[in-house]
Symmetry: C2
Subunit: 418 residues, 2 copies
């Protein structure tokens, strides 16, 4: 099944809004082994929408559209789709009831403009919206499918998971081959170094596909295999994964959608370990990522954002002389911060980070990008120094990732790099 995603909205075209909808839809369709051929962004313009609908309808079996279903004057997707199919708009009573009940539940007065959202093309089945007022549309014609959803991400996602993905799963009949994907997530190793470790990559892959996807969080290795059945595909992927782990295992922190903070949280949870975190340069970002996961209160006891030297001394008992002699950004202060936060919290582990993220504050000896990370347990403390780049926000992300990876390595007994 070939698919195209069309996201409609001037705000996407002119770069006011990140197109997270296209990313999400691409991902979930791919998981269903639907072949996403193209993503297109166009503006809230009648002719542009009509042209793109024609071209996409001719080339694909499935078209997924988001955006332009809101209650305001700039939203024209619904009527333009009606025009494309030469279908009349008619008032849908279920939708009108949904909208009225929604306003009643929120104790708000329903605006007249919201009533117009109950007008849908006759050709379409309605997808109910539990998180907003605009209904989605499901159109089947000429053995093809068009699904239309609002652009608000959580309204769209509810329609995808609650209606569209189950419907598509039903439609997909078994083909002659099975495609499976696996992504291995690495951090702390450069793309070209990793690539070189593969040797002759074509020989290594034996017909499988491999993409290297670098970012500030590390390099993702995305493997795709196509085999005659589920079992062969599973075995082939498994074999490739083991071969890659044999030479790069220490850099691999997870698979597919794993997030390093979640991986670290799960490790802490499984081992029954608690942690406390003292952050200077990352400003709370390490704790914030760890607490993105429900249940994090089991292992994260507390965190402190010791931005000022006074806070380092008062909360963590860092020695003022050590700050004076070695500087707040130093191996020595990182060590005392990790020891201090562990001591006041009574946790198994103490993690600390101090650095110069820039753009100001660098020196010849300690340029912007210098970061020290410390970790300690009951047996003592180790620190590692990093030299990141010039960009404050990239440095923050890389420093956070490095700190979380040090916790991972520490728990798993993987020695740190020199």
């Amino acid at each position: 099944m070939k698919a195209q995603i069309i996201t409609i909205g001037d705000e996407l075209l002119i770069g006011q809004t990140l197109n997270s909808n296209a990313t999400y839809i691409g991902k979930v369709l791919t998981e269903l082994q639907i072949d996403v051929q193209k993503q297109v962004v166009i503006g809230d313009d009648r002719q542009e929408i009509l042209d793109e609908l024609s071209s996409a309808w001719a080339k694909n079996d499935l078209i997924i559209i988001t955006g332009g279903l809101g209650p305001t004057h700039d939203d024209i997707t619904c009527q333009t789709i009606a025009e494309f199919f030469n279908a009349e708009l008619e008032k849908n009573d279920d939708v009108l009831t949904d909208i009225k009940e929604r306003f009643a539940r929120l104790n708000r007065t329903m605006a007249q403009v919201n009533e117009s959202q109950a007008m849908v093309p006759k050709i379409a089945a309605v997808i109910r919206n539990h998180n907003g007022t605009a209904p989605g549309l499901w159109i089947e014609k000429e053995n093809k499918i068009m699904a239309v959803m609002p652009g608000v991400p959580f309204e769209m996602k509810q329609m995808m998971t609650g209606f569209i993905l189950p419907k598509l799963s039903e439609k997909i009949t078994g083909g002659n081959t099975v495609t499976k994907r696996l992504t291995l997530l690495t951090t702390g190793i450069a793309e070209s170094t990793l690539f070189t470790k593969f040797g002759d990559v074509k020989e290594f892959l034996q017909g499988a596909k491999l993409a290297f996807l670098p970012s500030q969080f590390g390099v993702k290795l995305s493997l795709t295999v196509t085999e005659k059945d589920d079992e062969s595909a599973f075995n082939k992927l498994n074999e490739l994964e083991q071969k890659i782990r044999a030479f790069a295992g220490r850099y691999i922190y997870g698979k597919d959608d794993d997030d390093l903070a979640e991986v670290v949280g799960n490790l802490l949870n499984e081992r029954g370990l608690t942690i406390a975190v003292a952050e200077s340069c990352t400003g709370g970002n390490i704790c914030s990522l760890l607490t993105n996961y429900s249940g994090s209160s089991k292992y994260l006891e507390r965190g402190v954002v010791v931005y000022s030297n006074a806070a380092k001394v008062e909360i963590l008992n860092v020695d003022e002389d050590v700050i004076t002699n070695f500087g707040a950004v130093s191996k020595e202060v990182a060590k005392q911060m990790a020891e201090g936060v562990k001591a006041i919290s009574g946790t198994d582990l103490g993690l600390s980070i101090t650095g110069i993220l820039g753009p100001t504050g660098g020196s010849v000896e300690k340029p912007v990008g210098t970061v020290f990370i410390g970790i300690c347990n009951q047996n003592g403390c180790i620190t590692q120094k990093f030299n990141f780049g010039d960009d404050r926000l990239l440095n923050k992300q890389r420093a956070t990732q490095a700190a979380l990876d040090i916790v991972r390595k520490h728990i798993l007994g993987i020695p740190l790099d020199a």
Copy 2:
């Protein structure tokens, strides 16, 4: 000047990577008053790339391409563009020198695959890459322009700001009309409530364009005016802004790219105020956003992530009986947390937040989404209760935004909503 953006990469198509490049490029081209007609994502596939190049080249004056220039086997953009223009590839000595110097500077051995990145189509001028190994390409032909860049965001951005945008600025000659845009950023008011305040929106706008862009951070109002000259456009935008501020001013925290954490930081800085933050449910996210900006150490003295009750009591001197009687998520605990963090830090302001983000931990009385925010200065403390939704991460973002907005209102003397 009409433009299309083509971002190439299977990782975008199958939703492994957010397409932040298209967003960034859309934004900066729009700022130059270049009319972005379309964004397209296609995979690393020779025929798909050739087809899209043909269609885009026929319809636009400018094509911007990113992705597929890396050193690995799956990167085929450069040779496919050479094929499209029927141009040979030749070794570029400047690029080879850049790559060699880069590896020497990083103290790394250059892999053979990196040398192939110095092969560029004869038709193209090279855009030097200061942050990576793949060069960019600048092609002018038939009075049209094609610019090609790597997909790694910070390599792409350096080429845009250092080479492409200055070149495009030169090319753009004055037209007969001037288009200007302004986005007003609101938070704490629903889209439909805001829309209703405009009355007859067409009459209100007098020919200008207005888009409502809702997200978890609030509703953005994006105004576009097209007038005969700079001054008229400026005046028209200004007049509309004043009219909107007259009825919605208290909800407007900024313009265009403003970020609420930056707005709050600037307000603290201008007034010479210091702040300390005690976070429970947001887990450090408020501090992390405040410290995204260089100079934040002037106003953010410290933060604490008091995830456990013990941390609330030990660090902030919250009364254990108050936690027992009212619960850790209560107005009373929020007040004591704000007072406590202000007292231990000696700051002008203390901010606190405690809540139930979900998915677990809710009760009938305090369902998931219940959040209390407290703020105090030398005159006392106020708290506000919020009822957000079911989604943990959305709740976290909304709670963080609400807390920052309370600081903004507090400093500006805007009363909180009932």
